[in-house]
Every structure is written in C-alpha cells, then in structure tokens.
C-alpha cells in the first residue's frame, strides 16, 4: 500500500520554543528577507507558532499552536492552480512544483491556513552564508510560491536507503526537520496508512481535532488539544 504522510501536533507538549521554525529554515533553504521586507509581510516561515491570548490580567492565558501546511486531501490550493504546480502526490503530499509555478498566487489566496509564501525577490545569501545551504533542496527564484513539503527530500532519501538495504521504512526513523528538532516531542510524523505507526494511533486520540475542519479541506495534520488538570483522588 502507498504511504500516506501525516502529522500529529500535541498542543499539550508544545512549549512554543520555536526550535521547529529555525530547523525548517536551515533544512529547506528558506531565505531571510530582512527587517524592511519583513515589515511588509514578506517574511517566510513554513512553520510558525501562533499564539492566542485569552482573558485579562491576572487571569490571562496564552496558548501556542504550531501551524504548517496541513497537507490537505481536498486542498483548495490545488484546485485553483492553473499550471498544476500545486498538486497532490500519490503519497498524499500537497506538492509544489517550482518550475511549473508562474506566480499567480491564487493558491495563497485560497489557503485558509496562510502557509504559502511568495518569493517577491530573488533570494540572496550574503557571502559566505550560502555555504549553509542544504544541497538536497532546490532554491526558489523570484515569482515562485513555496511552502512546507514535509521535507520531501528526507522522505525520498529514506525510501532510497530502505530500498538499497531491501527493507521497509522504520516508523519514527524518518522525520521532517521540525519534528526531529522538537525537544518536547510535540510533532509526530509518519505514515497514516500504517495502522501500527505512532502518528496513526495518535491521530485517533479523543483529543484530536483538525484546523478549520468544517471547510472540508480534509487536512492530514491532527492537533491534540491541551488537557486541563483535574485533582486526582487522594488515597
């Protein structure tokens, strides 16, 4: 059976530390745009940590929520792309073919999660910062839309390695950069088609919800809600 890549984000573990954010920048050659362009809304973060304040001082509470491409089964970004740059792979990835992209930005408008980023300029790395680039990930040019790929380069490398060693992929051994860095273990990645995988079991959790599920995009990322503390019975 084909793989079906998905993720679980455990909000009860997430501490908002943002290790995922920088790990993603380093892995995926995401350009730094600088303060002036960032002020114009052009900073690129394929994964971000949203925060929600509730209540007033001194009862104010803050909740973190990492948001990345939800890898929707019924993705609104795909339907609007005139060049099929945004499309669904047979492993359930919502892929972006940079060479097909003509920069209409329809997909970014269609995505309600705001996880697609447009290259307004040709990305620059001031020398010798280009030495940090990951040779496994192509650079995007100006006029091209980019987004989270679930670190497809890591998926491909792991599959090649498994095939060379004539074995199956091992659950948990293959991780995108964000999940590998996450110190609290809030991000769990794996194959939803493998019923024994951790991600498949966790996505059945009663704490599980999906973002904006009512729009019918069928996201493949499950968020596990934060739990409250209930005083246990004292023996």
């Amino acid at each position: 059976m084909a793989h079906r890549w998905g993720m679980v984000v455990d909000l009860d573990r997430c501490t908002g530390c943002e290790a995922c954010v920088t790990a993603c920048h380093a892995e995926n050659n995401i350009p730094t745009v600088g303060a002036a362009e960032a002020a114009r809304g052009r900073a690129m973060h394929w994964i971000r940590v949203e925060r929600y304040w509730e209540g007033e001082f001194p009862e104010a509470r803050l909740t973190f929520r990492p948001v990345l491409c939800q890898q929707c089964d019924n993705a609104p970004c795909e339907a609007v792309c005139p060049t099929y740059a945004s499309h669904q792979t047979d492993e359930g990835l919502n892929a972006q073919v940079y060479n097909r992209c003509i920069g209409t930005r329809y997909c970014a408008n269609a995505c309600m999660y705001n996880v697609r980023f447009f290259n307004f300029f040709h990305p620059q790395w001031e020398k010798p910062l280009q030495l940090q680039l990951n040779p496994d990930v192509s650079l995007r040019e100006s006029g091209v839309m980019e987004k989270c790929t679930f670190c497809v380069q890591r998926i491909r490398a792991a599959k090649l390695e498994a095939r060379a060693e004539a074995r199956e992929l091992v659950d948990g051994a293959l991780q995108p950069a964000c999940a590998q860095a996450c110190p609290a273990g809030a991000l769990v990645f794996g194959d939803l088609n493998d019923p024994e995988s951790r991600v498949a079991r966790l996505s059945e959790s009663p704490r599980g919800t999906r973002l904006l599920e009512e729009y019918g995009a069928e996201p493949k990322i499950t968020y596990l809600q934060r739990q409250g503390w209930h005083e246990p019975d004292i023996q």
Partner: protein, 717 residues
C-alpha cells in the same frame, strides 16, 4: 653492512618518509589545523560529525551534517577556493544524555556562526582611535609577537599581577588551560562574565545542599511542578533537556498528567505552558514559597524537620514560619490567601512535587533568600535527590565559585587584558561605567570571532575558530542524571586564518622570554584534551556557616512616586542575552509571545496603556534614574499594571551588520545594584517611568501570521 637492494631501499624510504611526515606534525604551524582527511569527502554524501553547541552553558551535544562544497578560504595567508567538507545542518546528538537527539531554536541557528559574513578572518591590529573600528590585518607571527612582548614587559617589570583575563563562563579543560597559563605567569585567576550567570542559584544551592551547581530537573517523573520565575522551557539552565522532560511529564504516561503552576509577575514563555499562572508583585517569589511551607507545616502535611539543613537556613522555619501566614502573604505578594492554601495542599498531596526558581526571581538584591526559600520548600516535600525532584549531576568538572568578579578585575587597574568572547560593555548598566574602565586599560587583546562593543576596544584581535572548526568539549553541570563528558574533534576545516585560542595561549607560553614555571606540559590543545581528566566527581561540600538567614524584602532603585513601574528585562527566546543578535535566522524568528522580528519592544498592561494613551506600536520612552531607552509598545495582558517588560538582546551599537543600531538595550538603563553575596547584577531591581513619545515609527515588525479565522478547536479541555 647489508647491501642496499631495491626492496630494502623502499623499506628504508618508507620508514624515514613516515617519520619525516610524523615529525612535521610536531611543527606548530601544522598542529593548529587538523585537516579532514580528503577520502572522507564523497560528493553528495553526508557525514555526521559530533560537536558541542557553544551558544549557552547547557553544553548540548550536537551532530553536524557535513557535505562537500566549494568555499572561499584562506590558506597560508592566501585567499582561494577549495572543495571541502562543510557543515550544512545541526541536529541534537541522539547519543548525548542532555540533548537526546533534540536541539533548541538557538542551537539550530548556531550554524550561522561559522558562515557569518562579518566573522573575523585574520589577526587585526588597531590603527585608529579606540572603539573607532579601524584595524589593519597582521600576520599571526606579528600578532603573537606583539602579545608576547607586552606580556614579557609586564612580567619582566614584576607586574605579572597586572595581567587579567575576562571570558564568558566556560568550564572544562579549555578553562583549565587558561587558569594554568595565568597561574604559571603569576597573574590573577581568570574572570568570567555573563549577564545571566546563575551565580545566585549556585550560591544558594551550596548553602542548602552543599552543591555549587544548577540543578537537574526530573520533570518527566514529577507530578506537580511549581515554577518561580524560572524560564526553564525557554532560556534558563538546560532548555533542551528540560523541554524533553516536560513533554514526557505532559503526555509521556497514559492516564498521568502532572500539574504545572508558574509564579511570576509577567507570563514568560514557560509560564504560558502552565496550568495555572500565579501573578505576583516582582521580587516576592520567596514569600510565596515560604507561605506554602507555612501552610504545609501548619496543617501537619510535613514536619518542619523534614527540610533538614535547607530548612534550618531559613529564619523561623523550626517554629513553622509564623510570619508567613496566608493573610500576610496575600498582603505582600497579591496572592489570595485561599489560593495559597489550596496550592500548598495540592503541592504536598500530589507528589513527586518540585519547585524551580531561577532567572528574574533571583535577579534581586535578596536573590539568595529567595532561592533559599524555594530550596527549603523542595527539601520539605522530599524532592531533593529524589525521583521527580531536583538532583545534582555528578559531573567531573562542577562549576567553581569565582575567585574574582568583573568589578574586582576592573578595580585592580590591570595593564593588559585578555578578552575571550565576553561583552560586558553591552551587558552592564551604563551607570556601572564598565566601558570607561576598560578604556583605561593600556592594552587589550581579544580572541572573539566578531567585533562587538567590548572587543571594539581591543588593540589586538587574535580571532578564534568557530566551534565547528575547533575541538569542543562538554561536561554539563545539569540536564542529565548521570555525568556526561564529551570531547569532539573539529567537524570541518577552518575557513580562514583563525587559530584556536588555547593553541594561541600555548604558543605565547613557548615564546615568552622568561619560560613559564612550571612549563605547560602540552604542545597543543588536542594533546591536553587527550590527557586523562584529573578530577574525580566533586563530593558535596558543607560550608562552615549554617546560620539561619532572615527574610529580606526585595529593594528597588528609584522611588515609587517618580518611577511607578518595575522594569522586568528578560532573556529573549531568540537572542538570549544579546550574544546571538548577530545571527540572521534568530533576528527573523518571530518571538513566541509577540511574533516580533528584528525588533525591541516594551510590554505594557492594557489598563496602564489606556491610562497613558499608549497604543500598540507607539514609541514609548522607558526612563530610570540612570537613563532612558525608546522602543515600540506591545500591549499585553500577561503583565501587571505596575510593571513593564523588555526583552534583552537588541540595542547593539557594534555587533555585525545584522544587529548594529537595531532596537534598544534595557540593561543600559538599569541601576547598578548587585546581589551582595555573589556580586551579580540584580537586573530586576530597577523602577522606571513610562511616556509616549510618538506614534508608530515602523520599528515594530510583527509576523502575526494566522489562520484566516480563529477556530475554537485550540482551546483547553
């Protein structure tokens, strides 16, 4: 004599050739740089090499993904291009007991230290005015010769005591080498300086538990965690290890979920994850801890004697802390008496429970009594050296109590300063006049990789390798239950004409006109690292004095009528104490609490902002009795109406193209108040006033990315 036939000729040349090659390894020029064997370079194939993250003192083991690439390098003083192994990504080392295969946001960005466009590539000698930034390139031979002649002159004139060393806090054998070098020279012991240096916590732990050390938190097995201002999920102590343990505490065991309560005046990033935030007046954390202990003892949940020595250090403990009734605590801290009683009962009933104090709570003149109060609370509920509590890692190289402070160093009017990556000009209050004192030192040699506010004053710069190009070592003082000791070779060859600082010191020691007595027994730092470690794990010590310490209220600089707000500076999740403000990945990282990038800001309670007519993004001036800074306002319900908070990290005058001239530095306006026992800066002890100066000037850059509509799904169960 045996006739020389072809076979014998080959044998002899093979042997002599090998010994000639080995002998050339003894040549100092070749010892500094250890070349990565070329055969390891397979195009397109990644090799993972171990190293140690140097950005904070947690000492996380990392692995670097090294792949081939073309780099512009300096070799033998000549620029050129070479194909070499280049580190492309850092991950936590799965074999390291502290990082456990994980890495924090700052560790991920550590890669940019090596490839920073403003890294120093060669030795420099000052040509212009001090601090003007005018330097000229010199050869290593000339640079070391200059330093040697300066040291020779002082030693020859009987002034070896006027040689001083100031570095960032480091432990391990690099620091041991520095200390040994200074001792043999007849110079005073090295001084370390960092803004957030945890000296108060270590000092209190030695008093309470005989350990001059930060604790390891066994959060994974705790069932009730009470934080007192400690940002243990963000920036304090060993954040990676603590986040790993926290994840397990939350969802590691089916059906078991610990409670986490955070007691602090401003919600920190750590506090945001708490089940309950207890807002208090700044500097009253210890009163809450003693109030909890009072209730626990009064209700007979634990006997006073259970706290042992740690309890005996708190005045009034044996009689049940009569001065800390819930009503009294409510009056002094703002925590309701009924709430305090409930928290005390929960804390005693749902063990293993553990209290954690650090950071801002200890940055007061009464920091030591605050820490002693929490230590006694831990001892009372039996959480010291127990599962789910705090423990002290039996490390080979525990931190040593500093023999001298920065103030001692400057007060002794040194004639020559060796500066190793510490930046006190940025990280001390302007009123402490550290820059002025440094300017009066006749000669400063700096080893740091970058020009910052302090190394800009140097006369000579002898740039160190980046950590990926160096031998690295880690023996963390906390973060793992067992002792961890790692030594790792360079992950890649140096890009530039830089040299490892320990090797420079060793070369200096060999070139001195009066040889060191005793001579340093190593030729290279690598040789030192391969020598077996001398020290055995430290045994707990018992300081002689164990007299009870009476509670002292936190004192604040500035009178409340003129300066109505407490200024609460805090370590930035991205930039820490400002030493990471040069890394573009961290500059563009949205702050987890505000989403601000490339910015400074002032967090203001909505009520306060309303009264002063301040709106989000407005420029405000924060003034203490010692100076003023300006930054845009961020309106936040996570801080009380009597306080304002500012992240530390921005406001650099000189620190690479990414950090210079950006934002504001709140440390500069602090009162130079010290915690008396340790001499560390009480950075939470300053009062300020607040005024709007203008509307938004565009300097507050928010990412503020969000889903289109806020779903209700994210709420708490």
């Amino acid at each position: 004599m045996t006739p020389m036939d072809r076979r014998r000729f080959l044998k002899v040349t093979a042997i002599t050739g090998t010994s000639a090659a080995l002998a050339s390894c003894g040549h100092p020029e070749n010892q500094i740089i250890r070349f990565v064997p070329e055969e390891e370079l397979t195009p397109g194939i990644a090799v993972w090499k171990p190293s140690v993250c140097p950005l904070c003192s947690a000492g996380c083991g990392v692995i670097a993904r090294v792949m081939d690439g073309d780099a512009e390098v300096f070799r033998n003083g000549q620029p050129g291009v070479t194909r070499m192994g280049l580190a492309r990504k850092l991950e936590g080392d799965p074999a390291h007991a502290v990082s456990q295969g994980r890495l924090c946001v700052r560790g991920q960005a550590a890669l940019q230290v090596t490839y920073h466009p403003d890294r120093l590539t060669t030795p420099l000698k000052r040509t212009g005015e001090r601090g003007s930034g005018a330097f000229q390139e010199v050869s290593w031979d000339e640079a070391i010769g200059e330093l040697v002649s300066r040291i020779d002159a002082l030693v020859g004139g009987g002034q070896a005591g006027a040689i001083a060393f100031l570095g960032r806090p480091r432990r391990g054998r690099r620091q041991a080498l520095v200390a040994e070098f200074l001792r043999a020279l007849g110079a005073p012991a090295p001084v370390s300086f960092a803004l957030f240096d945890d000296g108060v916590a270590r000092h209190a732990n030695e008093l309470s538990f005989g350990r001059y050390q930060l604790p390891t938190l066994d959060l994974a097995r705790a069932r009730y965690v009470m934080g007192f201002g400690a940002d243990f999920l963000g920036t304090w102590n060993s954040p990676v290890a603590q986040n790993v343990a926290y994840g397990r505490m939350r969802q590691g065991q089916p059906g078991v979920r610990a409670k986490f309560v955070q007691v602090e005046p401003r919600v920190s990033q750590t506090g945001a994850s708490a089940d309950e935030w207890v807002a208090i007046r700044p500097g009253t954390e210890g009163i809450v801890a003693l109030g909890l202990a009072h209730v626990i003892m009064r209700e007979g949940l634990r006997p006073a004697a259970a706290a042992g020595r740690a309890g005996g250090l708190v005045d009034g403990w044996a009689s049940g802390l009569p001065a800390f009734t819930p009503q009294e605590v409510e009056q002094r801290t703002g925590v309701k008496a009924a709430r305090l009683e409930r928290l005390a009962r929960e804390f005693a009933a749902h063990g293993p429970s553990v209290a954690v104090i650090g950071g801002a709570a200890l940055a007061h003149a009464n920091g030591v009594v605050q820490a002693l109060a929490v230590n006694a609370l831990n001892a009372l509920v039996g959480s010291v050296d127990a599962p789910g509590g705090i423990a002290f890692t039996p490390t080979e190289a525990p931190p040593a109590r500093p023999a001298r402070s920065l103030r001692d160093l400057l007060g002794a009017s040194p004639q020559l300063l060796l500066l190793d990556d510490a930046n006190p000009v940025f990280a001390t209050p302007a009123a402490a006049r550290v820059a002025e004192a440094l300017r009066s030192i006749p000669f400063i040699a700096s080893f740091g990789c970058f020009v910052d506010e302090t190394s800009a004053l140097a006369d000579l710069i002898l740039p160190d390798h980046s950590f990926l190009e160096s031998w690295t070592e880690s023996s963390p003082e906390s973060g793992a239950m067992e002792a961890v000791s790692v030594t790792a070779p360079p992950a890649m060859r140096p890009l530039y004409a830089t040299r490892a600082m320990p090797d420079v010191l060793l070369e200096v020691s060999r070139r001195l006109s009066r040889p060191l007595d005793p001579p340093l027994p190593w030729q290279t730092f690598e040789e030192l690292l391969q020598a077996p470690p001398a020290a055995a794990p430290a045994a707990p010590t018992r300081p002689a004095s164990a007299a009870p310490v009476g509670w002292a209220d936190a004192q604040f600089d500035g009178d409340a009528a003129t300066y109505p707000f407490h200024l609460l500076p805090y370590a930035s999740q991205a930039l820490l104490d400002g030493s990471l403000a040069h890394l573009p990945w961290l500059q563009e990282l949205p702050d987890p609490m505000t989403t601000a990038m490339w910015s400074s800001w002032v967090e203001i309670n909505p009520h306060t902002a309303g009264q002063l007519g301040i709106a989000q993004g407005d420029m405000v001036e924060v003034s203490s009795a010692h100076g003023a800074v300006r930054a845009p306002a961020v309106i936040s319900p996570g801080i009380g109406p009597d306080a304002v908070a500012m992240p530390v990290g921005q406001g650099h005058e000189t620190f690479t193209r990414y950090a210079s001239g950006r934002g504001a530095n709140p440390i500069r306006v602090l009162a130079p108040v010290e915690e008396p026992a340790t001499g560390t800066l009480a950075w939470s002890a300053t009062r300020v006033k607040l005024a709007k100066v203008s509307g938004p000037d565009g300097s507050l850059v928010l990412f503020a990315g969000a889903t289109r509509e806020r779903p209700d799904h994210h709420g708490r169960g």
